[in-house]
């Protein structure tokens, strides 16, 4: 099992090293395990934030979530709590988390004029 995890880790490292970071393929199942920390504030499945200043993540576009996490990680987008967490994330972690949250049942939708 440990060996298997190692090989997965190596595969993840290889992917992040040799592909453009934005092209890392996300794994929603892996993201679910990594998302435990996030749910303390963003709620179960990122669908019910504990306070209204915290965004809903469930169902949000996968590539937007990745973009946001990378911006928090680089400091281009500044928010103290998110910076702390994002700085611990690899490109693969970000891809997995984005795949997971984007796949969750959502209260979010595209707001069209006239709605």
């Amino acid at each position: 099992m440990i060996r298997r995890h190692h090989s997965m880790l190596l595969a993840a490292l290889w992917l992040s090293a040799f592909s453009l970071s934005s092209m890392a393929a996300g794994n929603a199942d892996a993201g679910a395990e990594k998302a435990v920390t996030c749910q303390a504030c963003h709620g179960v499945a990122g669908a019910k934030s504990v306070t209204p200043d915290i965004p809903l993540l469930a169902g949000q576009h996968e590539d937007y979530l990745s973009h946001a996490l990378k911006a928090y990680r680089s400091g281009a987008r500044q928010q103290a709590v998110m910076a702390t967490f994002a700085q611990q994330l690899s490109d693969q972690d970000i891809a997995d988390l984005s795949a997971y949250f984007s796949a969750q049942d959502s209260a979010l939708r595209t707001a069209k004029s006239g709605d």
């Binding site: 209204p52 915290i54 949000q60 576009h61 590539d63 990745s66 979010l108 939708r109 595209t110 707001a111």
Partner: protein, 132 residues
């Protein structure tokens, strides 16, 4: 015109109900109650219909399913149903430049504080699941 910040807190003391009552009375006596009335969060009252009208400007990007930001390429976020205070904070951050996105900064700069509150309330009102 100054508006109270969302979640602005009153002094914690036994006089709090009294202070709140006086404040409410004072606000009710001001003619422009639409702009200065307080909701339960202590923020300026939102006009959802005005927010809906204002949002027409935003639909060029946020109203088209799967519409892409040009560079870097990612789909513009879905904001229908998003939490109200998050939207308010995001627009204020674009407006004051602490959050950077060329188009959003230009848009937010032209928004008044009341516009921001209205649009956020309109978007949050689309959440049928009643998230907090």
């Amino acid at each position: 015109m100054n508006y109270r910040q969302p979640h602005a807190s009153l002094p914690r003391s036994s006089t709090r109900p009294l202070v709140a009552g006086l404040l409410a009375g004072l606000l009710a006596s001001i003619p422009i109650t639409g702009a200065l009335a307080q909701d339960s969060n202590g923020s300026a009252a939102a006009d959802i219909e005005a927010g809906q009208r204002y949002f027409y400007t935003c639909t060029g990007c946020h109203g088209i399913p799967g519409y892409n930001n040009v560079y870097p390429t990612y789909k513009v976020p879905m904001i229908g149903g998003q939490n109200e205070l998050y939207i308010i904070n995001a627009l204020k951050a674009y407006k004051n430049g602490t959050r950077q996105h060329e188009t959003m900064q230009v848009q937010a700069e032209s928004m008044s504080e009341q516009d921001i509150i209205n649009v956020a309330a309109y978007l949050a009102s689309m959440n049928s699941k009643e998230s907090s």
